[in-house]
Symmetry: C2
Subunit: 81 residues, 2 copies
């Protein structure tokens, strides 16, 4: 199933998906950061997979992007070889 | 959109969905806890919405339930009235 994906890889995949979503909404770091009351440098770190964010931040990001939280997890994981 | 759902409510909704998924897999607290190396009392607290879990725990739970992480967020949020 998905057991090969490790935590660091998961955070990177999450970050890439967040970046894709942010860009699809035409939002800069600063714009997204302002909407969700998160420092823009943190947005950049989340997108680089350097943050192990919590449910509360997931909710804030989804509200700011005006999407359902599950869309933040709409990306492929590494399948078992 | 979903701006009415606050953090506490979101954690409770997440917890209820986790419980639904765990039961659909026929897993007890202990069984799920053992699979994902989380204390079973923590599983119970997550299900009650008392934990602001991180991405790493989300990944662990999804692996243990053998589902994609986005299924952990497959629940209705409170829409704006």
């Amino acid at each position: 199933m998905y057991s090969d994906t490790n935590k660091d890889c998961f955070k990177i995949l999450f970050g890439k998906n967040l970046k894709r979503l942010r860009k699809s909404k035409g939002l800069s770091y600063r714009k997204l950061a302002t909407r969700c009351n998160i420092d823009y440098s943190d947005i950049s770190k989340i997108e680089k997979g350097e943050r192990n964010i919590q449910l509360s931040t997931i909710l804030e990001l989804s509200k700011s992007l005006e999407i359902h939280p599950k869309e933040l997890f709409d990306f492929e994981l590494e399948k078992e070889q």
